[in-house]
């Protein structure tokens, strides 16, 4: 890999890799370190990636494997059959989403279990087909689809809880300001 290829890879993919790393580790420092470690491996073993069209999947796969190494989890992730996944309809609505800040959406995602969080984030980054997600996470396509389904339901439950909390906080603030106004008038 020459310098130009490396720079292109950094410019094109580092933001999404960082986001993926953040979703896995839950904090910006570890996400940065994961991203750096991934690009370090590209530099030191980059000759293995001869086909430039495969660099994206190589980077995401490598970052995920580095993360798994960190976690010292050598066993394969559990495999869930589609038939075993409940079809849960989330109570969250697009209107409720309006009251949520972007950070609250991120924090809700971080509350979801990692086996669902990783495919969810890759899906929401809009960069990967479900087949590519399966390759990155080294799980069958059916597992990706079931984890997306279950993961979305879990994420929306958390979003709904936050949205209700935000609405309630808003009403309390509004009520408090009205009480303050009334008190001043008296």
């Amino acid at each position: 890999m020459n310098d130009r290829d490396y720079e292109d890879a950094v410019v094109n993919f580092y933001e999404r890799l960082y986001a993926f790393g953040y979703s896995l580790t839950g904090n910006p420092d570890d996400a940065s370190e994961l991203t750096q470690e991934t690009f370090y491996r590209l530099l030191t073993t980059g000759a293995v990636v001869r086909d430039s069209s495969k660099i994206k999947s190589w980077l995401f796969t490598t970052l995920y494997r580095v993360f798994l190494g960190w976690e010292q989890r050598r066993a394969l992730l559990p495999h869930f059959e589609i038939s075993s996944v409940e079809n849960e309809i989330s109570p969250v609505t697009p209107d409720q989403m309006d009251v949520l800040l972007d950070d609250a959406v991120r924090d809700s995602l971080l509350e979801v279990e990692e086996r669902y969080r990783a495919p969810l984030l890759l899906f929401y980054l809009n960069d990967h087909s479900y087949e590519e997600i399966a390759a990155i996470l080294a799980v069958p396509i059916g597992t990706v689809m079931s984890r997306l389904s279950r993961g979305k339901a879990l994420l929306r439950q958390r979003l709904a809880a936050r949205a209700i909390g935000t609405e309630t906080d808003g009403k309390i603030t509004h009520l408090q300001s009205r009480l303050d106004s009334a008190a001043r008038a008296l």
Partner: protein
Amino acid sequence: MTNEEAKLILQAYAPNGQSATDPNFQAALNQARCNRELADWFANEQALDSRISGSLIKSLNPPPKLRSLLLAQKAIIRPVAWWRKRNHQLALAGCSMLVIIFSLAWFSHPGPIEFVKYREKMAGSAAETIEPVGEIPRDIYQLRRWLTENELDASFILPSGLDGRAISNCRVLNWSGTKVYLVCYELENHQTAHLAVIDRSALKDAPPESPVFDQLGKVATVSWSRGSHTYMIASTSGIPSDLMKLF
């Protein structure tokens, strides 16, 4: 397809519409066009996914210095030539020993053998080491080219997990009139995968088409047949999941 099945498929539909041309979604999309309830559900699903996607992309921005750090990294770390890396040297040494041991075994063998013996010989020899030998193709493309130039069969089909991986050693053997290709790949954990490709008809009881994973002592193996070839990979890591990831 029921609406519930269609929903499961459509939940993987990318929020930015990039799945529109994916044939795997077409049946479910057609059903949504004809079914009001499903169409409403899908529209709501897309609206939510789009908002969540936008929020996540905005809220997961990397710190400002990260890009500079990554770009500076290349000035600090120079790639090490693959043949100078200690783990690669060890892998080369291991492969070379394996190749020599197999060479002796194949050349001296009187005729076709049972698959289980073939597998045991490979697995039992996978951890030996010796000095590296000869010039080798760096990847599967070079190997196929070399085979073709030497009028040998290069039509074998490898699992996707071996695509693009560097080859650390390889050898073509002539055993009872049958060519056997031995190829060594580096795995991520500094271990080595030893691939053997043989004509399917050379074995009395070739393994089935679906991969069969097995553990022989400290060596993990997987074997399968496809078309006119039988394949086997032995991993010195002894971890079956290292082999599963190759498929």
